[in-house]
């Protein structure tokens, strides 16, 4: 691993911000589609599966980028509990980003549903057709989605705290690249 710089790499920032948009979209699509009885339901379901698989692919690239490049150091004067919170919440975000699409995919497999991406394009099942397993995975998908959104909100609040209260450049490390010249 290279010595971490003060800023995330361009690839890391691209992945972060594009996935931020996609994940928030995904969470709203998910919570909306299980509720609405309007025709939006069909559209949202059709969007949810390919978007989930796209996020699975992106998070794999992202984890690779993170392992290769690392992350900028947190400010030295950051209190220990905030440092611990930052590490724990990022670990949770990575775990949930990888878990959610895999649970969604195996949940549909266990429920006996075809995993349709678009038209006739579909994925094979990755779990046996077993409704007991389905019930557990289906509940986990909901609860972990809520946990993910709560962690995203915490992450957002913490980023704004760094930017507006501490003014320590932590948000800038993801918002823009290294200063040139």
């Amino acid at each position: 691993m290279k010595q971490p710089s003060q800023h995330f790499s361009a690839l890391q920032r691209l992945l972060h911000w594009s996935m931020a948009v996609l994940i928030v979209t995904m969470l709203f699509v998910g919570v909306g589609m299980v509720s609405t009885v309007s025709r939006l339901h069909d559209t949202l379901i059709a969007l949810h599966r390919p978007l989930g698989i796209a996020l699975l692919a992106l998070v794999i690239v992202r984890i690779a980028a993170r392992l290769k490049r690392g992350a900028p150091r947190l400010p030295a004067d950051l209190p220990a509990w905030q440092r611990a919170g930052a590490h724990a919440s990022h670990l949770a975000l990575y775990a949930l980003m990888i878990a959610m699409p895999l649970i969604g995919w195996s949940m549909l497999s266990a429920g006996g549903y075809p995993i349709v991406l678009y038209g006739g394009v579909h994925l094979p099942p990755i779990a046996p057709h077993d409704v007991t397993l389905y019930a557990w995975l289906r509940a986990a998908h909901t609860w972990l989605a809520l946990a993910l959104y709560a962690t995203v909100l915490l992450h957002l609040g913490a980023a704004l705290f760094h930017a507006l209260i501490r003014r320590d450049g932590v948000l800038a490390s993801m918002a823009r690249g290294e200063a040139r010249g």
């Binding site: 509720s35 009885v37 339901h41 379901i45 006996g112 006739g120 409704v131 007991t132 289906r138």
Partner: protein
Amino acid sequence: MPGRDCAISFRPWNRTQPCVVDASNGPQAIDWIVHAHTRTLYAFAFECIAARALVHWSPAVNRASICVPCRLAAIAAVVGCAGAAFAWTAGWLTPKRLDAPHIIDTFESNYGVHTGYRRNHAKGLCVEGWFESNGNGARVSRAAVFAPGRTPVIGRFAIPGSNPAAPDASTPVRSMALLFQLQDGEQWRTGMNSVPVFVVRTPEQFYSQLVASKPDPATGKPAAAKLDAFFQTNPETLPFRNWVKAHPPSSSFANTAFYSVNAFIATDAAGNQRAVRWQTVPETAYAPETPAQKADPNFLADDFAARFAAGSAASPAVSPLRWHLVLTVAAPGDPTNDATQQWPADREQIDAGTLVLQRAEPQGNGMCRDVNYDPTILPDGLKPSDDPLLAARSAAYAVSFNRRTREEAKLAQTHGDAQP
């Protein structure tokens, strides 16, 4: 210090390059610039205003600023709004909005929770067989199921209602649900009724009817006045009610025709789209329910078992239970968003092949038990129409499936040791 803001350039990669505007008369210069209508000066104005905003919000610049509690409140407001938007999307803030859990809750409050069973069409039985396509359906749909050949089918016959012990004679309606397991892994699921039209046109009407049908605790039956009032205010229900009046209930699942009710869009190999409905037409001739049958609460399942037994005894290779899958093709302009209306009788009909059922099993251990017959699960070549009932069926069936599978999982946990 007038004009000091302009010491920071808008260019984020270089925050130290000074603005060209002279610091000593910054604000005046901006005022002047904005009214000067020259392109270069506009650029100045933009850069300086943007720079001013950047300074204002930039964490790296030390300057007297908005109070800390105000900034904390701003953070709380941003996070709070994001949370509220999510809660609204989920329907948590609008308990009166009609959503899928709401519909299933109403079934449960009307008819009780029958643990492990579907919330509607709870009483039924499983069947297995295949669909032998003759290739004719390929004229309107490129779905692989319509190419000549055989597709395995997992089916379910049922009667409407939430009570899995309801007597069969309590309803004139029967239903047939099919899952076609296509070779390439695609699926086609359809839930059909023995009445070609549906009683209501929209999910909202369906919900109103459900509320109006709530059984009176004293009699256990819906209050006739309430239901009549619903029918009076919803004349769309008339075709359904007239059809039921004119067609006495059948004596068997085997001699009943079933209809997709909703319209779908079929796409052929060339990409042409046509609206279609489908029906399964029995080879067995229709006969009405007999008085003797009315005395048997399970006459439909008993009749079915007898037919299978007789069929196997006569000739093991030949199933007595056969239906033709007939596609009805809409003419341009036929409504696809109104399940209460049939299309004119002269519309083109395509006999796409034969559904052959070979085996029946109780739903407790049959293949159909763990299937959600969501009518929007369709192979490439078929897709939902703009019928508003289809999305609502999909959403509500999913809630029913999730609840009953959760109940099954709990049961499996409780009786885990007793499982073979």
